[in-house]
């Protein structure tokens, strides 16, 4: 699977291969030490964060709570005479 940053796709593939192997061989078998892919993850992360900034993708917006707070849009008041 590609990355949003074209230049990150190769780094992502290397990391994904490492992760999938770790997930199957280590994590599912009860070994929680994830340091084996840490270096590949770091390099890939730097690339992807840069690509996200360039494409103006921001996660903060979606993490905000809106429903149930005062930021929630209210329905317009109903006109009693109609």
């Amino acid at each position: 699977m590609n990355s949003i940053g074209e230049e990150c796709t190769e780094l992502k593939k290397q990391y994904d291969d490492c992760f999938n192997n770790w997930f199957t061989e280590k994590f599912l078998k009860g070994n929680h030490d994830d340091s084996v892919c840490a270096e590949k993850f770091k390099v890939y992360q730097e690339c992807v964060k840069r690509a996200m900034r360039q494409q103006n993708i921001d996660f903060k917006e979606v993490d905000k709570d809106v429903l149930g707070t005062e930021k929630e849009m209210k329905a317009p008041p109903q006109d009693a005479s109609s």
Binding site: N20, F23, H32, V62
Partner: protein
């Protein structure tokens, strides 16, 4: 707001399905998904937490693009937890691109089947909300239909990935391949059906909207002419020959 739920049983143990879930993309059933990126990942107390950015290409009808913009690449935020000791995997996805108008929140859970631990139960729910744009219930229906369709494709995709994993290991998949082809052509067919149905109702809405616009225009014209005439007559009656046009307009606007 529409809530949509579904359940499905995989004839594979939870561990196999969890592995396949990470390798779900790319697959031929969800060609719309063009990228997945991990933005955060850590193991806390034996639970793997992952935050991913999922990019997909959506095709909207022209009228919808006028309302929500022409953005064709959409981004979604997917947060997941994998607990191997309890054999639980949960993924929560919400869209980023249409935050202002459309919110799609989807939750997918993979757990061992309660009566057969060698099988895996998938439960899935989606909440669609559309606010601030007209035709919202119509658009909700359109999106809910799309989610149902995609959910089916997602299940096939997991099976497809499991098939691929098996091939890599054991080199067998010709029978799976055949059924994948059948599923693909079925999926294609139902997608075509939905597209043509949607197009038909869209044409219907357009012509209705056009008709009511014409009605409004005609009504407004009649209304204006009627009041302008009556005010003009009234002005003449009172010998106020040089009434300013503003007077006439405000009389029309305030008239009951």
């Amino acid at each position: 707001m529409k809530i949509w739920t579904s359940e499905h049983t995989f004839n594979h143990p939870w561990e196999t399905v969890a592995q396949a879930a990470w390798r779900k993309y790319p697959n031929p059933m969800n060609p719309a998904v063009i990228g997945t990126d991990v933005v955060e990942r850590k193991v806390v107390n034996g639970v793997l937490h992952t935050h991913r950015l999922v990019s997909s290409k959506w095709y909207f009808p022209n009228w919808a693009q006028a309302l929500i913009g022409t953005a064709k690449i959409c981004y979604a935020s997917e947060k997941s937890e994998v607990n191997p000791s309890q054999r639980q995997m949960t993924l929560k996805t919400s869209n980023l691109t249409f935050c202002r108008y459309i919110a799609v929140d989807e939750t997918v859970r993979y757990t061992p089947h309660p009566t057969d631990s060698e099988k895996t139960l998938l439960t899935q729910e989606a909440v669609v909300t559309v606010q601030g744009v007209p035709l919202s219930s119509y658009m909700e229906d359109l999106l809910t239909n799309k989610i149902s369709l995609n959910a089916g494709k997602g299940r096939q995709a997991i099976e497809w990935v499991i098939g691929k994993l098996d091939t890599e290991i054991k080199e067998f998949a010709s029978s799976a391949c055949k059924s994948t082809d059948e599923l693909l052509s079925q999926t294609k067919k139902s997608f075509d059906d939905i597209t043509s149905t949607a197009r038909r109702s869209m044409d219907d809405i357009s012509s209705k909207a056009k008709r009511s616009l014409d009605d409004i225009e005609k009504f407004a014209k009649d209304y204006y002419i009627k009041y302008w005439r009556s005010m003009h007559d009234a002005a003449n009656d009172n010998n106020k020959d040089n009434l300013p046009i503003g007077y006439l307009i405000s009389a029309v606007v305030t008239a009951e």
